[in-house]
Subunit: 412 residues, 2 copies
């Protein structure tokens, strides 16, 4: 029984339990309202690992336009030994030039002083509006105050402090039974718009009290990000600030050796955790009412990837999903557009297991059953292309009036 | 003075006049309500060139999923000598398999009989819903009736018969003064959604009474399509049915020789005509209130093209355009996402000539002037990338509530 694993697409592994018990041993977090957001809500968070030999791994956006905090992480932090994470919402500190870089460095320094660690052991992350100067004073004062709030149950406040247009927080605490003992795993994520990560995503911070070698942390995070945040799209918009960080305190005393059964089981737990968070981000896609999953099978990795992304990002497919309209012609169109120059292309399409198109042509089907299936909350589309051996999936949100309202009526 | 050239981005050349005088000599058109659309409006059109030695050129969608009429045109028509065009709205005859191919062939046969020409001299075109069988009886009966309606002023009815979600018809009649004499040029286009053509677009039929060799028709149409319909996007969605056809009757007696001043002037007129129609299609983008033009300059053809498409198709940029919000951070984000892996990328951004970002960082600007500029009907965005020598443009519509309503609430 788990409140967290609430999608039929992500199973809770049998050795994983949703314990809702805060951060793993060795971690504390806190957050304050520092005035970055005008609304006066929590907007600066600090998360600290108390273990001097903490091990970590990180992934960042591949955008050509990198936010200042991403640059600071990549150039001024020991990414395999991060002790602390400092994050703010309300301002992305992106396209802010040298003053922005200085602000991100000041943020790193202030967090280091507040956490009592070296500055190269601190990762910084920001999310919010692009192109507006970030006031370093406010962030730094906020971080000093946040240090006074640090506690094991501080993940709830920390999660709130990183929200932007999110309609709900995305957070989990799991206990994971490994052959060598029980470890805990927690994560805090945000994201609802400007979402189509590539090798990383939005902001997501993951903690475990398992003891991992840096290579193991790197491997597990890399594989699991590829299967989770790299497979979602709200609006096809890669951000300037996407950041995922995994920190390991080792405080459980359970050592996860490379290529061990422990590594496999921890990997399964991390995989389920990140996939569920990824689906939650899509479900929170700005104004989203329904979530789609497109699965494309065929003979070419590149072809199935392009077709899946084209369907997931088609405003025609997304509006049809929103309107509970099983308009599969738009799926055929999106696939054909993604694979231009390949006509005549044999395409099979099924919606919720109901075949609607075979070898490029409509097939008779139960229209009432199809309409009923399209009215669900999670809709699965399957596309078959010629050949076999390759398969991919993308989770995507619909496109509704609220997305337009959120993005046309406010500067975000 | 021209009612047709209503965009500051497309100038009416001095030797061109908007004469609103119907089809050029040698052409007749007609349309009927054939019951393809349930609303009972005009939905089948026939356009005939009376010259036995008519010369033509054509461009089609490059989608991997081709509609039946596109396949029939490519495989069963003499594209350099088309006499007639048969078109219907209300059904795209796409993803309809062999019955769809048979219906398109029947449509070609019926138009040939109605026009009194060989069937390989007939192009067919369809637009409307995908994946629904097209009733060949209705179309063929309609074409026979349309033959009784053929007249020089029939372009108005023909244009109406090809509309789908279009809010207004797109049609022009021009007179063009060439060194060797005066010729006329007319065109009928449709398109409002599923619009991001590649080497062709939607439906557009162009007629002239100038006498051109097939190679000249091919060259002029190819160049002008690349500069018009290939540079627009409503929703980034390449259609299965895009078709552009140029027919030349020669009835004016004015011969346009290859590489002549006549060819140059006629090319300028055709260029202005197709560019204006392209902007009209964007302006009629489903639910669109404002039109954007993104111009990207830099050192690499591929880079400027990718950046321009990314901006034009970003739902974040498009909703900001809709909301008159000069949110240039979203332009920086879209460019960075298009050129991933290139950080640090030097980006300059200007909106309506007001510089807002230089070398990747915000620059001080007159906020009131910027807000006023963003509230116009045509908004120009300029992006500068490193290097020079390459430049491209894309015209795009905004994304508003009506796009969602049109596409979420109706099967189109």
């Amino acid at each position: 029984m788990s409140a967290f694993f609430a999608s039929r697409w992500v199973q809770c592994p049998p050795h994983v339990e949703d314990d809702q018990a805060g951060l793993p041993d060795g971690f504390r977090a806190g957050a304050v309202a520092a005035g970055i957001k005008q609304s006066g809500v929590l907007d600066v968070g600090l998360l600290v690992c108390d273990a001097p030999d903490a091990v970590s791994a990180a992934r960042f956006t591949r955008s050509g336009v990198l936010a200042a905090p991403v640059i600071v992480c990549r150039e001024h932090a020991r990414l395999d030994g991060l002790r602390a994470v400092a994050a703010n919402a309300g301002n992305a500190n992106a396209a802010t030039g040298l003053p922005g870089l200085d602000a991100a460095l000041a943020m790193q320094e202030a967090a280091a002083a507040a956490a009592g660690v070296d500055s190269d052991r601190v990762a910084v992350a920001s999310t919010g509006v692009i192109g507006v100067p970030l006031d370093p004073e406010r962030v730094c004062t906020g971080l000093a105050r946040a240090a006074g709030q640090l506690r094991a149950a501080g993940d709830e406040a920390f999660t709130e402090a990183i929200l932007t247009t999110d309609a709900f927080p995305k957070r989990a605490s799991l206990s994971v039974t490994l052959p060598s003992g029980v470890v805990r795993l927690s994560a805090q994520a945000k994201g609802a718009g400007m979402i189509e990560p590539s090798f990383a995503t939005m902001l997501c911070f993951v903690q475990t009290d398992a003891a991992l070698e840096p290579q193991t942390a790197e491997l597990l995070l890399g594989v699991c990000v590829k299967r989770s945040f790299d497979r979602i799209s709200v609006d096809g918009q890669l951000s300037t600030n996407d950041t995922v960080i995994l920190q390991c305190s080792g405080a459980s005393g359970v050592r996860v050796a490379p290529e061990s059964e422990d590594e496999l089981r921890l990997g399964e737990a991390l995989d389920a955790l990140l996939r569920m968070l990824a689906v939650m981000i899509v479900r929170d896609g700005e104004g989203s009412k329904r979530v789609g999953r497109i699965v494309v099978r065929g003979g070419h990795d590149e072809g199935v990837e392009r077709a899946a992304r084209a369907v997931a990002n088609s405003p025609l497919v997304k509006t049809a999903l929103h309107g509970a309209d099983p308009n599969w012609g738009r799926i055929a169109q999106a696939v054909g557009a993604a694979l231009r120059g390949t006509a005549p292309l044999s395409v099979d399409i099924a919606i919720e297991g109901i075949a609607v198109c075979s070898d490029g042509a409509a097939v008779a089907h139960d229209v009432d059953a199809l309409n009923a299936a399209a009215a669900g909350v999670e809709i699965e589309y399957a596309v078959g292309l010629p050949g076999d051996g390759s398969e991919t999936e993308v989770f995507f949100s619909d496109l509704g009036h609220e997305y337009v309202s959120i993005n046309a009526e406010y500067t975000t």
